[in-house]
Symmetry: C2
Subunit: 114 residues, 2 copies
């Protein structure tokens, strides 16, 4: 996973239409017209988004059928998930701190109630 | 978490220098000069990157000290982690399929050895 590949994936995800296209592929493969339908966009605009997703390898297009349906490729998302690993301890730590704080509040309240 | 906020976070992460800045903040808060040091970049170029990270709320700058040190804010990364949740089943499924395939290979080998 080169640094440039990660940038290409993050760039592809930095757009609400492209994320919506990905989400709609979670239910199975779709043709370009199927994908274009929910968006008020021209075909060239949708095709441009698909090319960005294809470059990031987030979608793949079948070469078999004439209408070349698109399907989701989860591998680049897994790469991001692995990149995220180094940061996970930070919010887990914050959550633990919050839990400690709530416990302190609770024990203070119990002391006051006595 | 609005769709635009997610786009701003993904956009901020779509650059190797900005990801390196974030990684260097995992060891603690740093001044702008500390952050600029490992990169062969001008101060205005680094400042521009910091502004993109700040807009995405990935870093925060202290208002207390005169040199305004930067620190990491993990919340936007957590938002991405939550967004990712809907896709996790895909690579977990692929991993399960791989495991099944390896088990089949193994049992085939055992049958051949008999």
């Amino acid at each position: 996973m080169s640094s440039d590949q990660l940038s290409t994936i993050f760039h592809a995800l930095a757009d609400p239409t492209r994320r919506a296209i990905l989400a709609s592929l979670t239910t199975g493969e779709k043709t370009v017209s199927d994908l274009a339908e929910p968006f008020d966009m021209t075909m060239p605009a949708i095709t441009k988004h698909l090319k960005v997703l294809e470059k990031a390898k987030l979608i793949e297009r079948s070469r078999e059928a004439q209408y070349r349906p698109c399907h989701l490729n989860p591998d680049p998302l897994k790469d991001i998930d692995e990149w995220m690993e180094q940061y996970r301890k930070f919010w887990e730590a914050s959550f633990d701190q919050l839990e400690d704080y709530l416990k302190q509040l609770q024990s203070k309240r119990e002391t006051n109630d006595e």
